[in-house]
Symmetry: C2
């Protein structure tokens, strides 16, 4: 059966259905790791690694203007699950100005107990929630997923960096619910040399099984599917290795695409596709500093992960719900991962918390009526507002790629790209006269609009009002990512005793983490 | 009717048809001007300006690896119509090393009488041939289209630069067949300030009328449709101005896309779509040096027009022939505009000339059987071979963007992009140790493969053999683009007398043209 025929069949299915109330809808959020906007066939990647995602877009709604809340993994994921900017939910650092911080295994902090996560709220409507893959909201016991609303978990609290020697540094554990089942590079193999690992297949099977179980039991569910194969060290299973046209990263893309196709097909075969909202996106831009074998593409956008240029925060995004979301639609809505929090609550019939600021929008009018909601996008690094987008315009208040010191060591967040006065290697303040770009005309942020022009003055007036309002109301959360300590690393995670895999921690010796960029 | 439904209907049409012999097929080549690979929705441009081209791709065959024969207009167009590299057909200069040359109105030369053009050969099978739009193979009388096989012409011999004052420099004429009908900025208005011009509408009507006439008369035809709206100064008609999300260039894209949709729909309504091969492509990469309002996008590729980086020579390309070319196919064939010469002859049932080297391939096996033909792509600047692509690998023997002198004046062929040692501002020779890139893994030519690696040595051996063979057999044509003279400008084109638009030419004073880049 050809792709076209499949589209036709699903089209027929979708127009033949009457959409009922959305309350009680199952929710699947597929969050990729370091995948770039430009990695999808439907956004121009020419290697055709993503037939299933391209089909998902043809059957659903594609978002070319979708953003993460931070150009780095942990704050982005915390924002998705809380619906709040990292500067509010505490996933930032104040150790130095405008620095990206995350949760390596020496981090002391994690998600604050004061934050309310999406699965906690979904419990009000008896949803069963599972996270599969990377958590990244803190690896110490009190921060783990089952303490924050998830009923099930299969995956890991940190990045799959390694292999480590288990004396100076432990290998990262892989959990099943509240107990570790082994460690990366040990029970859960990743061959850094060949790039082979079976992890995506494991995460796929975990996902399919969870969906089947809930369908059989007729329980509402929330599945947060967060595989990490496209984060360095990039991996793929044997069947996919060497299959793509662009090396190991492309192989990982093909395997993730194949898995997503299998999950969607599984929903159809179980007959629950018309009561399940599936949203696909990524946690931050492609990590172009890692080179072509270990990173993806940010398409026409400037720089990548770690930066507040478009390449750091613009994400691929697709919403899919046959019979409810019109097939083959492109929405120009400015969207955010934080909207997944609010929109999920909306389709579940749960009110968001009213005791705090929620930054996410309910995208229901966009998904179901193709409306456009007016809203700004804020680009932060640490607690510093770096840039703002309103409509087609983006104003940079601060610019920085990374320091000369790092750059001279060969760490380049913008390889092959350099826009004088924009991709600066010193932190440059433009607060009095922001750099303004028209992203429709100039998606690559190469040609700042002349400060002499009427266009500039008009945009500046509009942006200033938005920023002043935002900053006036902003109460930063307590920063959670300031302290590090070797003693808190994954020496002896719960469950290590049964496996005989407990390791001896060093003495506690906390320090203020050094975040270089 | 939705896009999807249209695809389904055409799909049904195409599988229901039995393809007969291809001989005698009508041929339409749609050649855009300075349009970039990244300007199509189907290649990721997010402004959704090209629904008709995207549909054309869904109904036909899309080529992500298609190339022009030169990063500049005139040599590219001469190569298309002769099937031969500019270094063979004479469309180059030897005035300085590795310089791009074209046909401004002070050029003395043009297409050599020794070259055989596609429409001349198609006459053997009684094709009626028309060129609509830009010629650019020489504007002096002996070089014009009707002297080289075309039966009809509506358009202009040169770029629509201007307005000029008609004393130091004449405005460019617009011809109907062998006589001028007026001049740009006079009878054929282009408002440089607002960007308004009706020219694309005129070119569209000319195209539709020509097709209708041949269909009624049941004559085989070759239409070379070469509008220039996306070449600076970019223009669009009133209906399209301000309609796109990215300014004037996007408006021009929308109008061209709309026109292409109308031409395809016209073929369907006349019932000749199943005996017409339509090929869409562009003459060179987007002219990114012109800034965002006047230029398009080269997607993930490095630099643009004038350079032998991918942004200069990779082109959007679509083949369309319902019932004959399988719908919705992507071909990874390395293709070239020169293949349009050979492929057109093949579908017309005409043998190519056997007294000269033809660089174009017959793509019939690709179009009809989705085969892959092994072939190199050669990247020239003047008569200097700058780079070669075989398979996924590209080897640069010389690198140059433009001179420091030009660059320091603000002329930038790679705005926002700079790859140290690659986008050099001096002509750098790498003949002994070419820079080699894997374009599948690294489409942006950012990460040269290590010369220490086995991969490098293997590729170098393969590339060296191809280049040695190419250079051993190469007999450069007589260069046609060396001499300039103000006296040869468009002072008194044929037909000026009736219009009272003849201007006085200065004395002849030829000089060796200065080609700065």
């Amino acid at each position: 059966m050809s792709l076209t025929t499949v589209i036709c069949v699903l089209w027929a299915v979708s127009v033949g259905q009457t959409a009922g109330s959305q309350h009680g809808t199952n929710i699947i959020i597929m969050l990729m790791d370091d995948m770039g906007w430009g990695d999808l066939g439907v956004f121009g990647e020419p290697s055709k690694e993503t037939p299933n995602l391209d089909l998902m877009a043809a059957q659903g709604m594609l978002f070319p203007n979708f953003y993460t809340a931070n150009p780095l993994c942990s704050p982005s994921r915390a924002a998705l699950l809380t619906g709040r900017l990292p500067v509010r939910n505490g996933f930032y650092t104040t150790n130095a100005h405008a620095r990206n911080a995350y949760t390596p295994q020496e981090i002391v902090g994690g998600i604050s107990p004061d934050e309310i996560l999406l699965p906690e709220l979904l419990k009000k409507k008896d949803y069963v929630s599972k996270i599969i893959g990377k958590w990244h909201l803190g690896h110490r016991t009190q921060y783990l997923p089952l303490k924050h609303g998830f009923d099930e978990w299969f995956g890991s609290p940190n990045c799959h960096f390694g292999p480590y020697n288990n004396s100076v540094c432990p290998n990262i554990p892989v959990y099943n619910n509240s107990e570790m089942k082994g460690r990366y590079y040990e029970e859960f193999e990743i061959n850094v040399k060949t790039g082979e690992s079976n992890l995506t297949q494991i995460y796929l099977k975990e996902g399919l099984d969870f969906i089947s179980q809930q369908a059989v039991a007729q329980r509402r569910f929330f599945l947060y599917w967060a595989p990490d194969a496209t984060h360095a060290p990039v991996y793929a299973s044997k069947h996919f290795l060497g299959k793509s046209q662009r090396g190991r990263y492309g192989d990982a893309m093909m395997e993730l695409d194949d898995s997503i196709g299998q999950i969607l097909a599984h929903l159809v075969s179980l007959g629950i596709h018309n009561k399940t909202l599936v949203f696909f996106t990524s946690d931050n831009g492609a990590a172009v500093m890692s080179g072509p074998l270990q990173s993806g593409s940010n398409g026409p956008f400037l720089c990548g992960k770690e930066t507040t240029f478009e390449g750091g925060m613009r994400e691929p995004a697709i919403a899919w719900w046959p019979g409810r979301i019109p097939a083959g639609t492109v929405s120009y809505q400015l969207g955010s991962v934080m909207d997944l929090f609010t929109t999920s609550l909306s389709v579940a019939g749960v009110l968001p918390p009213d005791d705090r600021v929620i930054d996410g929008l309910d995208l229901s009018p966009v998904l179901f009526n193709n409306s456009l909601l007016d809203r700004p996008i804020f680009y932060y690094r640490g607690n510093q507002l770096m840039a703002v987008r309103i409509g087609q315009y983006k104003a940079h208040y601060w610019t920085w790629s990374n320091s000369w010191e790092e750059f001279n060591k060969g760490i380049n967040f913008c390889p092959g790209q350099e826009v004088p006065g924009v991709t600066t290697h010193t932190q440059e303040e433009h607060t009095m006269q922001p750099l303004i770009f028209h992203l429709g005309q100039d998606p690559g942020e190469r040609y700042p609009i002349s400060v002499e022009s009427k266009e500039y003055r008009d945009v500046l007036r509009r942006v200033t009002a938005v920023v002043e309002q935002h900053q006036k109301d902003l109460i930063p959360g307590m920063p959670q990512l300031n302290m590090c300590d070797l003693a808190v690393m994954n020496w002896s995670p719960p469950g290590c005793e049964q496996l005989g895999k407990c390791l001896k921690a060093p003495e506690s010796n906390p320090w203020k983490c050094d975040w270089p960029h």
